[in-house]
């Protein structure tokens, strides 16, 4: 099969130098658009109403916008959801920068929720001498402390084991999630004697209405939470990029041998960082348990602890970029929910959409790191 004239291969790959920022942005945007187009095709195949009437495709894409932005309530919901997801993702970031793969954000957050609700359950709504024993503000402070401690404890246990016995943190933190879930089940059985395993919304421990004139009073809570998470974003960003602790985290993440060589106490950094990571999960737990739900179920965090891992990775552990990535995921989520109602499809459909779009965005990394060279026009034949 050998001939004297051999063609260059049609395509070959070469590694790129770093691309300018705008170029990367264009590639990612193209991936997003392509992903959405494929979503449309998949929807055309899966959704019966679309198959019968393809002219409703426009409505399909409109639903995405509608899901997040069509009404005031939805806009608030969008930003509130982004804030909660972002908060958990921020909690993961210090650990991830250290290459400590904390997959336990779900459990750490849930423990934060549980701690907040436990404080509220035992202390709230009690009267002494006809007066409220614990006014809401004091409850909120106590819940805040309890959530942070609970999250930190849940986070630091795997870190201590890692530091002492070099256990695998991924498995350990993952397993701690299940312990947390069953611990919540246990508490619910204890707290709700009727066996309905639903606690109901507690009436005490409400957030104060700080902002008025937003329409509904809960929008004030939302705004408070959004501001709080915005503050945390800035703090985490500064902590990681400008503080000595943040620098140590980066060095440990890159190479433990380098860290030891310059005299960094690696175990101390691991434990300290996981305390922080767990504490921030606890804060997210407080937001859910005290600010929003005032109740707890095993599904209070609802998988956001895992979605947050995605948010973190997509943003390459950059807190500012995480605002965008958590926004993207919530946008897709709410949009797909909307499609489920409009077109009457299964509730699993949102996951399909998110999966497809993320696949394209993650896949686009390949085109950021590598260049594809196509064969140039025929070179004159070489004969020997």
């Amino acid at each position: 099969m050998q001939t004297n004239r051999v063609k260059a291969p049609l395509v070959h790959l070469s590694r790129r130098d770093t691309l300018p920022l705008w170029h990367k942005a264009v590639i990612r945007l193209a991936a997003f658009i392509l992903g959405m187009a494929v979503c449309g095709l998949v929807a055309l195949l899966l959704i019966e109403k679309l198959r019968l009437d393809p002219s409703r495709m426009g409505e399909f894409y409109q639903s995405f916008i509608k899901g997040s932005f069509s009404t005031l309530a939805r806009r608030w919901k969008f930003f509130k959801n982004v804030a909660v997801l972002l908060c958990i993702a921020l909690a993961l970031t210090p650990a991830f920068r250290m290459r400590f793969w904390n997959t336990g954000a779900e459990g750490q957050t849930l423990m934060g929720v549980l701690a907040a609700v436990a404080v509220n359950f035992y202390l709230g709504g009690k009267y002494t001498n006809g007066r409220v024993a614990w006014p809401d503000w004091s409850l909120l402070v106590l819940m805040f402390a309890a959530s942070l401690i609970a999250g930190a404890v849940w986070g630091v246990i795997p870190a201590l084991f890692k530091a002492r016995w070099n256990t695998n943190e991924t498995l350990f933190t993952l397993m701690m999630n299940y312990v947390a879930t069953f611990f919540v089940s246990y508490c619910l059985i204890k707290w709700v004697p009727s066996g309905s395993s639903s606690l109901g919304k507690l009436s005490s421990g409400k957030l104060p209405t700080v902002f008025t004139g937003l329409g509904k009073s809960q929008y004030s809570d939302y705004l408070l939470i959004i501001i709080l998470v915005g503050l945390v974003t800035a703090l985490v960003y500064v902590y990681l990029n400008y503080s000595k602790h943040g620098y140590e985290i980066s060095v440990v993440g890159e190479s433990e041998r380098t860290a030891r060589y310059v005299g960094i106490n690696v175990n101390k950094v691991i434990v300290r960082t996981m305390l922080l990571s767990g504490m921030l999960c606890g804060l997210a737990g407080w937001i859910i348990g005290a600010g929003l739900d005032r109740s707890v179920t095993t599904e209070s965090v609802g998988g956001q602890g895992f979605t947050a891992i995605m948010v973190c990775w997509l943003a390459k552990f950059d807190p500012i970029m995480m605002i965008l990535t958590s926004g993207l995921i919530i946008f897709l989520n709410l949009g797909a929910d909307q499609i489920s109602t409009t077109f009457d499809v299964s509730g699993a459909f949102p996951n399909v959409i998110i999966g497809i779009v993320l696949f394209f965005i993650i896949g686009s990394e390949f085109f950021i790191n590598y260049k594809i060279n196509f064969r140039k026009k025929e070179t004159p034949s070489v004969t020997k």
Binding site: K244, Y261, N265
Partner: protein, 562 residues
Amino acid sequence: MQPVLELKHITKRFGKDVLANDDVSMEVYPGEVLAILGENGCGKTTLMNMVSGIYYPDAGHIYIKGEEALIRSPRDAYKYNIGMIHQHFKLVDVFSAAENIALGLDKTSGSLKQVTDKVSEISAKYGFNIDPNKKIYDMSVSEKQTVEIIKVLFRGAEILILDEPTAVLTLSEIKRLFEILRNMVADGKSVIIITHKLNEVMEVSDRVAVMRKGKHIATVNTSETTESELTDMMVGRKVDLNIARTEPVDPRPRIEIRNLSLKDEEGGWALKEVNLTACGGEILGIAGIAGSGQRQLLEAVAGLNRPETGEIIFTNPKKNKPVTLFHKKLPQIRRLAAENKLHYPDGKRVNLSGVSDKQLRALIAEEKLLFDDDEIMSLRDKTPLEIRELGVKLSFVPEDRLGMGLVGDMGISGNMMLRSYRKGKSMFLNFKKPKALGEEIIKELEVVTPSVRTPVRRLSGGNLQKVLVGREISSSPKVLMAAYPVRGLDINSSYTIYNLLAKQKSLGTAVIYVGEDLDVLMELCDRIVVMNSGRVSEPLDARSVKKEELGRLMTVSHREGE
């Protein structure tokens, strides 16, 4: 005779700016060893990667036995009977040699038993010494290399490419490898060896192709050339190979190691009763076959491992020198004064009772408090941080540059901070000084990098080393330890490093240099000790010692169970 391999006008670019190979043409004949010689980063490996299917050329053609060949993958390369042994081995640790060789073969190659038999056959034919059933994790580097070579021979390679095969081997292993290569060419195979070591080129090759900055300079017959002619072609200009060695000025013991013993991970002795003194103002060379305990010795001094027995004594030459806040805090200075160890410039004793902290600071700033004597302290069982807090300015250039000395993902300025980021009470980093230091090092040492922010992972070996050494000497150390600081560096970069070490010596630093090239050790150092199986020889005068004596000390075997 028809060449077995012919490259014509090969050009390869990486990105916009890097022209790795520029219009390179060369031939390889059957039954010869062709050495490709060149400095680091001259494009030797890139060129061979195109022959072995790792890269694809941007322009140019490759001919095998006169036919144009299309090599898109290593599998294609095997089809043309080309096999490359890379610098970093690609073996599965938990598999045996035979299993690794069988890996990826199709069914027609037969059972593992048949593979094993054929491996034994190949071994016997060319003189390899290998147990096909030994697991990779039990093997020495040299054995692993042997497995890689057999792997390509097994696949029928007629053209073998070896990328820096001697970098990881001891002298006797190198000799053995060269014998095997000669057996292979006697069998009609062609061997291409990529190297930057001139003596090896002279010893093993039939012809030498010299490359410089991506271009093929010339191909000459080894028997008709000399080392100096090759050097000229390689570097493009006459280089002065003399290292300026000054006489040590007032050498006094700085680090004394007494009876130091240390166990390795397996429980054997990595260091056995080591006695060693390094003096300020001299370069102490440590010679020895790689893996004789050099790394452990330096790491013990740096506080990175825990010796079983022995002492490491550091003498800080402080007699009649002022107390500074760099290595002493105020309470420590008060204690020193209480112990009657300080005096004023006029000879009066220092009494600090009734002196406020503010007044004390002023006294220190004016350098009014002087030590009576040198400070003597033990470094054993101290962590690197504790050593630093004692005020010991100890710098260490480790062997593993990216895995230990530098942080690959950070820029030069980020790496400059590694040693100094703790300074000051603020919880935030100070970026200004490290950045200025980084820029200074780039300028002074001619580091080639797009900016101080570019991750150092992207720099070449020589530039990395300049950054690392530059940082380590920037703190004006009292002791500077360097392990294989020129390994993998080209001649020019090597001499930059030698000169930096010589400069530190002239500043009174105790320099400890672990090297492998005996000629360099003998030209650069003042005294040389030889390490052999965790033991250290008596110091020898580097100016008068014979190379044969060093070689003998390196290879003489110590009786087991002593």
